[in-house]
Assembly symmetry: D2
Homo-oligomer: 173 residues x 4
Amino acid sequence: MRNETETETETETGSGSGSKKFPEADAAQPPDGFVHECSVRVRYADVDQMGVAYHAHYLRWFEVGRSEMFRSLGLPYREVEQRGVLMPVSEVFCKFVSGARYDEQLTIETRLDPAVRGGMKFDYRIFAGDRKQLVARGYTRHAFVDAGGKVVRPPAFLTEVLATAKTRKEAVG
Amino acid sequence: MRNETETETETETGSGSGSKKFPEADAAQPPDGFVHECSVRVRYADVDQMGVAYHAHYLRWFEVGRSEMFRSLGLPYREVEQRGVLMPVSEVFCKFVSGARYDEQLTIETRLDPAVRGGMKFDYRIFAGDRKQLVARGYTRHAFVDAGGKVVRPPAFLTEVLATAKTRKEAVG
Amino acid sequence: MRNETETETETETGSGSGSKKFPEADAAQPPDGFVHECSVRVRYADVDQMGVAYHAHYLRWFEVGRSEMFRSLGLPYREVEQRGVLMPVSEVFCKFVSGARYDEQLTIETRLDPAVRGGMKFDYRIFAGDRKQLVARGYTRHAFVDAGGKVVRPPAFLTEVLATAKTRKEAVG
Amino acid sequence: MRNETETETETETGSGSGSKKFPEADAAQPPDGFVHECSVRVRYADVDQMGVAYHAHYLRWFEVGRSEMFRSLGLPYREVEQRGVLMPVSEVFCKFVSGARYDEQLTIETRLDPAVRGGMKFDYRIFAGDRKQLVARGYTRHAFVDAGGKVVRPPAFLTEVLATAKTRKEAVG
């Protein structure tokens, strides 16, 4: 079963929402899991004297990717925190494949890893040139903690949203 | 003569373009000069432990404002540099009126100060809450320099674009 | 009366403390007011594709300057917050005089403006090349607010420290 | 053979130099390879609304670690670039173990992985509380490229410095 839908593209400014599978050609990506796409532009503030984005800024773009995914699911991360659950980054990995240049429009693909249970893991791929050039790929892992910093179980209000997201995709496919 | 047009809103991701005058109620803003509007969202990366955006990030938003203004004029700043002219910030001022909170959508209004000749000066106002709350206002001044850092005169390719921009607004109003 | 003392230099990493007057040659700087000096190094993360520090990073250096000044007074800003008083930046100005290059060691001079009463104002000068080249100068203004964001009067524990600082300088001069 | 020397601590501001082995208790760290230690302070600009350093800033601290290691070897990275060799980050990993809080003094341990040949790999550990609390650990991988972005072999001027560094350590141990 394939998910053919390619709805609106979520922009960094949050107008619209969309979900999209990674290209099938990429065998490294499992076929399931909710996937989201949005875009950002490389700013002067991001670029170093090599003429490409300084590597630390990719982590900010990962944040944009996962927070816009949350928003497209109807549960902005802001609301997650308002319900008393924080999701600090516990681990990050990024492989830099090619440089992102000033003023380029980048596409961020964010995929929720469905195999991770205790916390959450997001896989990212960042593309330039209208998705033709892979710029970077990586992941972040997140724990669920309460306001006191204690690790807690995945909150029901979040797991329900994720279950619905999966169902919605299957209904569409 | 008033410019009533309020076309599409330039988002940070660059889809669309627009120009818009500051509200007339603000007597501190002169009535002329090209004005542009775009929006950004406050990210977790931007917010400090007071729960509001760290003040230095406003300068990044000023950059977003003026670069999207350039783009809406048909002359992305990237092309300005490609033609050999750099426009480093020579001065910045910002007054912080109220705090910008996590995940808020901010509106950046950028106005080109028509009275400045040797370089360029941009005035900014940043709003939250659907433009109802002024978050910050400020300006940046810019010199024109060549690749060697020497101050040069305003390049003709830029002054012509700006003259056209003004004419276009008058034709519309 | 002159303050001849030039004790240890406060580094960004906080070892040691020092106070130092601005050079007398600079007539724009009033002769009194507590002055502090520390240093930072320009990192790759700070430099843009013009080969100089991106202008927003100077605001971070201003923060380093004033927080190390607080520390040298025996009252780290962390303790100010722990006592329930926050000092958000209400206004910032910076004039960029020359570019700070990668790996340069910069000297930050921070001077407390003694004329400001309701809040605090700090004047900064940033130098490169062993203090021979002025890179930037500017100021920040700060309000005193409580945890709820309400403006409060200058706290006694802070004004006492500042009074002592002035006395200490006079004893030394 | 153990390297007992613990010379001066390299501060972020670059005064002094030092080399130091990771504690032997950490079996995950091979016993050889040049190791360097320096320190940074967590600034307000670094901390998010959870009250801990935003994760992306750790990558800046990794940069501080490896650049101060280069400096302590007598070869500032600035000089590497001046000789025409760039070392962009090709991969980064970081595990966040505990939060770094505002104003904390962090110790950055940087270890050159001696097994990596084509490029360079640095392992980092960041500690708070006078090295008693592990805050984060990770690594960065770097390629050698020329000004045109083409991958080149490890430059002799760099490999010689590294060979000397190892010899020096053995002489000391």
